[in-house]
Amino acid sequence: MLEIRNLHVTVEGREILNGIDLVVHPGEVHAIMGPNGSGKSTLANVIAGREGYVVTEGEIRFDGKNLLEMDPETRACEGLFLAFQYPVEIPGVANLYFLKAAVNATRKYRGEPPVDAMDFWELVHERMELVKMDESMLKRSVNEGFSGGEKKRNEVFQMAVLQPHFAVLDETDSGLDIDALKVVADGVNALRNPERGFLVITHYQRLLDYIVPDHVHVLFNGRIVRSGGKELALELEEQGYALYNEEPGRARRAAA
């Protein structure tokens, strides 16, 4: 469903990604791991279509369509979701109202009428339980005054309501204590199904104890230097990324 071929990306003239190849099939969960500055968040932002990230080479196809030709809102309406590393505050806009605007934007894109108020209310309440969210959070302004954990939980909640085909989770585990981490992971796991794909970006192996990936990729200096199964994450936990720092060739041998 997501095919990335030879992707090169520059930010402010500096090359951050140099030749990424990645294919995610429906129902798969892929984890991208890597040290700070390896290009993990850049990859997430390029997929979502953020301004300022210039694709100099390569392509991304999403359900067979050229993703790079679409503006960010079209990508979202096509079923692409990004759980932000730093969710943004929108003062004065109620969380529930925002979510409804998002749901209706997608429905409009598909040529469907706005969501029925009762149906929406039921969906929201069902999904709230998934992330053990308090009802008061619906009335509060989007992310305003939310704790780090609440913000991340809110991202997963939005994902649960919007039900995307494909979700990118950008360091959703950062800043979470173990209880919040479990809640977030439970939410994601509940959404796993044979049609939906996930790309889970993380610095630490910890999250992958709870969201068990089908494939793990190590991103280093803008390239995927290794791919493997879930056991690769454990190996990284033991050996760290320092290995890759010296010389990629040697790292590959050492890990082999």
Partner: protein, 482 residues
Amino acid sequence: MTDSTQTLERLASSDYKYGFVTDIEQDTVPPGLNEDVIGLISAKKQEPDWLLEWRLQAFRHWLTMKQPEWARVHYPPIDYQAISYYAAPKQKGDGPKSLDEIDPELRRTYEKLGIPLAEQAILAGVAVDAVFDSVSVATSYKGKLAEKGIIFCSFSEAVREHPELVRQYLGTVVPYRDNYYATLNSAVFSDGSFVYIPPGVRCPMELSTYFRINASNTGQFERTLIIADNDSYVSYLEGCTAPQRDENQLHAAVVELIALDNATIKYSTVQNWYPGDAEGKGGIYNFVTKRGLCKGRNSKISWTQVETGSAITWKYPSCVLRGENAVGEFYSVALTRDYQQADTGTKMIHIGKNTRSTIVSKGISAGQGQNAYRGLVKILPTAENARNHSQCDSLLMGDRCGAHTFPYIDVQNPTAQVEHEASTSKISEDQLFYCQQRGISTEDAVSLIVNGFCKEVFKELPMEFAVEAQKLIELKLEGSVG
């Protein structure tokens, strides 16, 4: 300039939806201002001598005054002799007796504005006193209100039918010497609305006036007087639009509110006068004096305004808190774009003990718009334990607009507590991207964010007005032509 800045600017420049001219015969006084013109206006309205005398006193005083220059607005000198001071739609015979009798052309104008003047008005429970240029053409729902002893009529009618009330209160909150434009208004005011709520009565519906400037070169000088007697309540709505014209039109209104013991007056305005074109040509000069007197104990006056129109807005709805425990409130959203200028705010004058006031001001500037908040909180020595909280937030869209805050605080009693908060922000690219990633288009994201910014003020508006205000802001920010 980044792409999103350009997008914001494009979104912020849209056309004026209400720029149509109604083609009806006008009864207009030739341009110019002198004692004869004032006499003519007064005679046309069959006013009593005391009122003519009051007008003339104001005019003579006005001749000694100078146009104020302290506001942060810029415009060429106004030629007061080039303005026509009276325009009324010509009436056949005695004038309309019911809504059906109103000129169909006029009715269509109101329909385009979406005013529920006809039967819908009654269904909607809104009583409308529509001011078309200078004369109030129809007042709906008057009978129902009369049963409760509520007087809601045009100012001219009040002068004829209830001269004692008008004489008792006219000029007691805004004296004719008050300021340049209020003095001019006192001399030449043509019509407006009058409301009296008797003791113990809670007005059962929102009272609403829709102002519209139609004839060219006519200044509109309405005068509104609202009196809430002991233990009464009234909510009053004022909406304003004007057609599109190249010349600048002057609008200098005066609104006086008086709240007696335990009375509450809520006054809401949605102002959408023609702002001029994208090059800054034309538009309304909106120089308005609005002031409320909390005369009685536990009285309350609350101003809510949404100012989106006019080339220049110069307006400071104020509260004089004289009664003990009196409460004054000011909630404002002012939007300027293209070459619009707004210098608006409030004055809270604390005189009585335990008086409280709240100020929430939200300024939005786009294009080359300039937005200034100017406010005065004055605590007099008699105002033991007075409290004020002020909050002024500005939102900038693009990098050629401006926001300015001028808070004046004058505390003469050591028991007072006065707080002032201010912030300036921009719609960030992060916010826009966050919305877009959820499928929301840039245009919708901008109006979502702006409406969120205004929420504290919108929630003070009556429901149907809040919806209108929100739509108006969206309309102003979208590139669409209605």
